[in-house]
């Protein structure tokens, strides 16, 4: 197409050579520009990784890896400070697991509904609504959690304060819904209709077909959706900062807890010295977590493509 636009009428043939030269140079410059922008993203990842490692390691060296990872007490501002992040680690793990436990079934069923069951006009309303969830800023989730969820939990379970792990789990569960729904729905939509026809022709009902043929056929996509949800949940800070209570307790469902992310967020502004360095170490741990999850996700997606 562009060849046609740029092609030179025959009576200009004398200038053709120079024209070609200019075009070639332009090509090279454009290549350079694309290369530069392509490298920028990679460069930032490398920069952040290097920065986190360099600023995260000193505190771990000083505190000791065991004390840091498995210490159960975090008293960063005490006269005798202690920097054990096990409460944060466990809170992040439990919180994410809890959010999965609630969010995955709901998200999967929503995806199934949208992909297979819902009549088209209804799906056309539900789908944008779910997508809209993804666009709501996390501070708004936190705000609504704070105003609606926390008081409800307090009165339902008769607690002195409703800001707790459970509140964080519920908020996270809602926040991960859009990613789980949209990725699972894409996977379910990609299941060849022939599989479903075969199942129906054998006398299976539609619901049996969706659960016993469509879902297994989409399993790598659904697994990817779950891992994506885990990644989002573990990295979320703002919303749970507002509903989790933020005390460095070992986690139970109704205790006020601090996540890896919120531990950094709440102390960074006034931290100094070893405390500040330890916060960087927490960031490093979080970073490694998320790296692992992303690697897992990539493997799943790759396997999904090959399978």
């Amino acid at each position: 197409m562009s060849m046609n636009i740029l092609s030179i009428p025959t009576h200009f043939k004398g200038s053709f050579g120079r024209q070609k030269h200019v075009r070639k140079a332009l090509e090279r410059v454009m290549h350079g520009i694309f290369f530069f922008f392509g490298i920028v993203a990679v460069g930032f990842v490398l920069l952040i990784s290097a920065y986190l490692i360099f600023s995260g390691l000193p505190a771990i060296r000083e505190i000791g890896l065991r004390n840091f990872l498995f210490g159960t007490v975090w008293k960063s501002t005490a006269a005798q400070p202690e920097f054990g992040i096990l409460p944060f680690l466990l809170t992040s793990v439990y919180g994410t697991a809890g959010a999965m436990l609630v969010g995955v079934p709901v998200g999967f069923m929503t995806a199934m509904f949208l992909s297979k069951v819902a009549p088209r006009p209804l799906a056309a309303i539900v789908r944008p609504a779910v997508d809209l969830l993804a666009g709501i800023p996390s501070v708004v989730y936190g705000l609504i959690g704070m105003i609606v969820l926390v008081p409800t939990i307090r009165s339902v379970f008769d607690l002195s304060d409703g800001a707790c792990l459970l509140a964080a789990i519920l908020v996270l569960a809602i926040m991960i819904l859009p990613s789980i729904v949209s990725v699972s729905e894409t996977a379910l939509n990609a299941v060849p209709k022939e599989y479903e026809d075969a199942s129906l022709a054998l006398g299976a009902t539609e619901i049996e077909t969706y659960f016993r043929v469509s879902a297994p056929a989409a399993k790598s996509g659904i697994a990817a959706a779950i891992v994506l949800g885990i990644g989002r949940a573990i990295g979320e800070a703002m919303a749970i900062l507002m509903v989790a209570g933020n005390v460095a307790n070992m986690p139970t469902l109704f205790s006020s807890v601090t996540f890896l992310t919120t531990a950094i967020a709440k102390e960074m502004s006034y931290s100094s010295g070893l405390q500040r360095q330890a916060l960087f170490s927490i960031a490093l741990v979080l970073f490694l977590f998320i790296m692992l999850i992303n690697i897992g996700l990539n493997l799943l997606l790759k396997r999904g493509k090959e399978g």
């Binding site: 060849p192 022939e194 599989y195 026809d197 075969a198 199942s199 129906l200 022709a201 054998l202 006398g203 299976a204 009902t205 049996e208 016993r212 043929v213 297994p216 056929a217 399978g307």
Partner: protein, 251 residues
């Protein structure tokens, strides 16, 4: 003998387009009936009305009578899943599930409540033998069915249909995606299966129709032009349009 399937005055519309026009035909027990005709003539559509697979297509309206052993299959109280167990279907493109060979065959029985492991083993072996593929796959039952060749996959699909012990077997151009050797294996199989099942096949291939079928029905533009004994229809067609088609003048 009473026909297994008896169709009278069947009309089918996709939206406002009429795809089947006043079709009436009887399908006799334990015989192979071949539906022939050019592409788009309605033969596949007709086949799918027999196990109500057209129910799934949006905008389809059907009127007329289709009786399976005396039962009106489009009556409102008919259990479609029951009907589809009686009338199995094999599709044009081999479509085994992305599961092991064993699980493919066991899918139907499991769906219908067979849980006992030994019983399932028996059904799987019997069905695979019935589809003449047991010897080829007996050592790899736990392997994915997608690793088999197209012809093997199609016989897996036939075995999967047999596993729910149907009465009638519908085959929608079941060999058109296969090579000649696989095709001839499946034709031999059809000859074998008609001792047990009533079979209806859709085919583009008129040699195939003459080789495997007892009865033949010629469709053109949604109309059933002519039906009768295959031998007679190919040697002495009653209708000019049938003659033109089978002698290759169009289609």
């Amino acid at each position: 003998m009473e026909p297994v399937l008896s169709v009278k005055g069947l009309n089918l519309y996709y939206g406002s387009t009429q795809a089947l026009k006043n079709v009436s035909i009887d399908l006799p027990e334990k015989q192979v009936t071949a539906l022939i005709g050019p592409s788009g003539c309605g033969k596949s559509t007709f086949l799918k009305t027999l196990d109500r697979m057209n129910d799934l297509v949006p905008g389809v309206t059907i009127n007329g009578s289709v009786q399976y052993r005396g039962l009106e299959i489009y009556a409102p109280d008919v259990d479609v899943t029951w009907l589809r167990r009686q009338i199995g279907m094999v599709f044009q493109k081999p479509n085994p599930f992305p599961m092991s060979i064993y699980d493919n065959i066991a899918y139907g029985p499991r769906t219908h409540g067979v849980r006992d492991r030994k019983h399932l083993d028996e059904i799987v072996e019997k069905s695979l033998r019935g589809a003449a593929i047991w010897d080829e796959v007996k050592d790899r039952l736990k392997k994915s069915a997608l690793g088999l060749s197209g012809g093997q996959q199609q016989r897996i699909c036939i075995a999967r249909a047999l596993a729910v012990e149907p009465d009638v077997l519908l085959m929608d151009e079941a060999t058109s995606a296969l090579d000649p050797i696989s095709t001839s294996k499946i034709e031999d199989l059809i000859a074998d299966l008609k001792n047990t099942y009533t079979i209806v096949i859709v085919t583009h291939n008129m040699q195939q129709a003459t080789r495997v079928s007892d009865k033949c029905a010629f469709f053109l533009l949604g109309e059933l032009v002519e039906s009768g004994d295959t031998g007679q229809m190919f040697s002495m067609p009653r209708e000019k349009r049938t003659e033109d088609y089978i002698t290759g003048r169009f289609g």
